[in-house]
């Protein structure tokens, strides 16, 4: 009893009371600097000290990438009908979907639509990391395929921004099938001669890397992004070896010949626009 009372007693503090409104400051996970949030936001969510690219949600990504107000979403209401009836630990997949919808403000882990990048019309597909870790389920697969179909129909380039933990476990083999589905549709897109640019951001792993994210005509990565097939933890657990520094980063992938370029977030727009200009027929 005595111990408990003692532990509640903090003692007099001589320091001034910390009264800080929440969400004004943040710590950069890479360089550990304390940063003023609005400065970071002005800097396109990149750490001004060490160039660490923070994860950003789909809406912000579209704001940075597309011309102001040019994004017209399609199929925004598409939701999954839970093919397996998945249940885990007293919750269900449907409940999890609802919770994540509230958290992220989108109905699924991908937004697609037509947009303009520096005045060039494109079909844009952007993944939302806050929705079940951006995992690919039936809706994400269907949306990407719809985006490809639209790009084929309107003869526009397709720009996909990947940000995902992989295939969605909650939909079982249905989500595994999305890998085959997206790859098949992209094969057709390739045959008709469409331009497909893929931007790989932190993190792109698992089934998404092993399907549409790696099939672009041009692969652009953001600096320091985690890109790989198996997650680093899985690899470390399986082979029981300490992983080398910088393993599975964008720079690592570039070095091993799997990326075309690494582009800073602030240059992404102009770089994509330039690529589109080059590839015009």
């Amino acid at each position: 009893m005595a111990k408990e009372i003692k532990s509640k007693w903090n003692g007099f503090s001589l320091k001034p009371r910390k009264e800080m409104p929440d969400g004004l400051w943040m710590r950069c996970p890479a360089c550990e600097h304390i940063l003023y949030k609005s400065t970071v936001e002005k800097n396109l969510n990149v750490c001004p000290k060490c160039n660490h690219h923070f994860r950003i949600e789909a809406a912000t990504r579209i704001k940075y990438l597309a011309d102001e107000g040019s994004f017209q979403q399609v199929l925004g209401d598409l939701t999954t009908d839970d093919p397996l009836g998945f249940k885990f630990r007293e919750t269900t997949y449907k409940q999890r979907l609802k919770a994540d919808e509230k958290k992220s403000g989108t109905k699924e882990a991908m937004l697609i639509g037509k947009a303009f990048i520096k005045g060039r019309p494109v079909i844009l597909a952007v993944m939302e990391p806050n929705f079940l870790m951006g995992s690919m389920g039936s809706v994400v697969g269907e949306k990407l395929c719809a985006a490809v179909d639209k790009a084929m129909e309107e003869k526009l380039p397709l720009v996909a921004v990947s940000c995902s933990g992989g295939a969605r476990m909650h939909e079982g083999v249905v989500s595994l099938g999305q890998m085959a589905k997206t790859s098949a549709v992209l094969a057709k897109f390739d045959e008709v001669g469409g331009l497909y640019i893929c931007v790989l951001t932190d993190p792109t792993t698992g089934g998404v890397t092993a399907s549409f994210a790696m099939l672009g005509d041009c692969l652009i990565a953001e600096p320091g992004a985690l890109i790989g097939f198996a997650g680093p933890r899985t690899i470390a657990e399986t082979i029981k070896v300490e992983l080398p520094k910088g393993f599975q980063t964008a720079e690592f992938m570039l070095e091993h010949g799997f990326m075309d370029m690494i582009v800073h977030r602030k240059d992404l727009r102009s770089e994509i626009a330039r690529l589109i200009d080059y590839c015009q027929k």
């Binding site: 589905k181 098949a184 094969a187 045959e191 092993a210």
Partner: protein
């Protein structure tokens, strides 16, 4: 199908008995009956008493017990059967099903992955390219095959040989049996994800019939890497999943020992997959699983391949590709959407057929 010339007893890997080597944990009673039968056999050989009637009785009990167990296996038990150490592996299929098999090695880039075996051979009367994942029978083979976990060079080899087969119009049969693609430093350096992605991309457009069969474990992207085709079949007690049950349990339940629950939730058995229309066919296994009767299992697989190849070869290659595309495109679509697509495709086909039909001249009624 013509009967083989070799007597069955002399064929390799014949263990046509119900004991099936190692017993799984849910087969206690079967194991017990086996022990009793062996004891009786031993006694009769020592004392010279005829126990054959008793043995027959026990055997009948055992068959009934096996029927009871295997008619309603749980998902986790299915996973255990699929991983059974005596389950027929790719090497058995190559020995028993593929005639004059000629293996082709190497991906022409980096090396030769032993976890994926490719080569030409005959199944029935058809010449085919066999692409399969091998796990290895003993420790030495297992290490050479990396326990059935392919590296990127394996997938690249598979694709290179499939392109070779495409050039000469040779149908492709892939036999899937892997816990998953290898997660390792070297595999990542050489682009595991890219290799699989390119395989998915290219296999959807290969201009030859492709039959994919899951013969044991169908583990995630590693299985899908050679698993895109016109038909996907699965053996009755094999499994096919987006993630291993252990992996799923570790992530969603935060406890790897909850794998049985995860297996149940993932709907990874052949029955569930067929119900969800994710596989085209379920190939039956003999009573008590493939490991109890290797020959019947492989015979069933052979029968399926021969029959399906005959069907697929009848279809024009452009139609085959269209069908493959629409099949892949409709994965995960809701039932109504699927139906709409099917009817639309059928309507278009009918329309095209009608247009192609020569128009009959109008009948003029005879003048009276």
């Amino acid at each position: 199908m013509a009967k083989r010339d070799i007597p069955i007893a002399k064929m390799p890997g014949n263990n046509n008995n119900f004991s099936g080597g190692a017993h799984l944990e849910f087969e206690d009673k079967v194991a017990d009956l086996d022990r009793q039968m062996n004891e009786l056999r031993r006694l009769s050989s020592i004392k010279g008493i005829d126990y054959s009637a008793e043995i027959r009785q026990l055997r009948r009990q055992q068959v009934a017990e096996l029927k009871r167990i295997y008619s309603n296996l749980t998902a986790w038990q299915t996973v255990q059967v699929a991983r059974h150490p005596q389950r027929p592996l790719l090497s058995d299929y190559l020995d028993l099903m593929v005639k004059d098999f000629r293996e082709l090695h190497g991906d022409r880039c980096f090396g030769d992955d032993r976890a994926i075996v490719t080569g030409f051979g005959h199944i029935g009367r058809e010449r085919v390219l066999v692409v399969g994942q091998n796990k290895g029978k003993n420790t030495k083979q297992k290490i050479a095959c990396n326990f059935g976990c392919p590296n990127p060079e394996g997938y690249r080899k598979a694709l290179a040989k499939m392109k070779f087969a495409e050039k000469f119009g040779i149908p492709i049969v892939t036999l899937i049996d892997t816990p998953g693609a290898h997660p390792g430093i070297g595999a990542e350096e050489r682009g595991q994800a890219q290799a699989i992605a390119v395989n998915l991309n290219q296999m959807s457009r290969l201009r030859v019939p492709i039959i994919c069969i899951v013969i044991g474990e169908g583990g995630s992207g590693g299985a899908l890497g050679i698993g895109v085709g016109d038909r996907l079949a699965i053996l009755e007690f094999a499994y096919y999943s987006v993630i291993s049950p252990e992996g799923c349990a570790a992530i969603l339940w935060r406890d790897g020992s909850q794998a049985p629950k995860a297996a149940e939730a993932l709907k990874l058995t052949s029955k569930d997959l067929y119900k969800l229309e994710l596989v085209d066919a379920v190939i039956p296994e003999p009573l008590g699983g493939a490991h109890r009767n290797v020959h019947d299992t492989i015979y069933n697989v052979e029968k399926y391949i021969v029959k399906t190849l005959r069907d697929l070869k009848r279809t024009k290659i452009d139609n085959l590709l269209d069908n493959r595309y629409s099949k892949l495109r409709s994965i995960g679509a809701s039932p109504t959407e699927k139906l709409r697509r099917k009817t639309q495709a059928a309507k278009e086909r009918v329309k095209a057929a009608l247009e192609a039909m020569p128009t009959k001249p109008k009948r003029v009624p005879a003048k009276v």
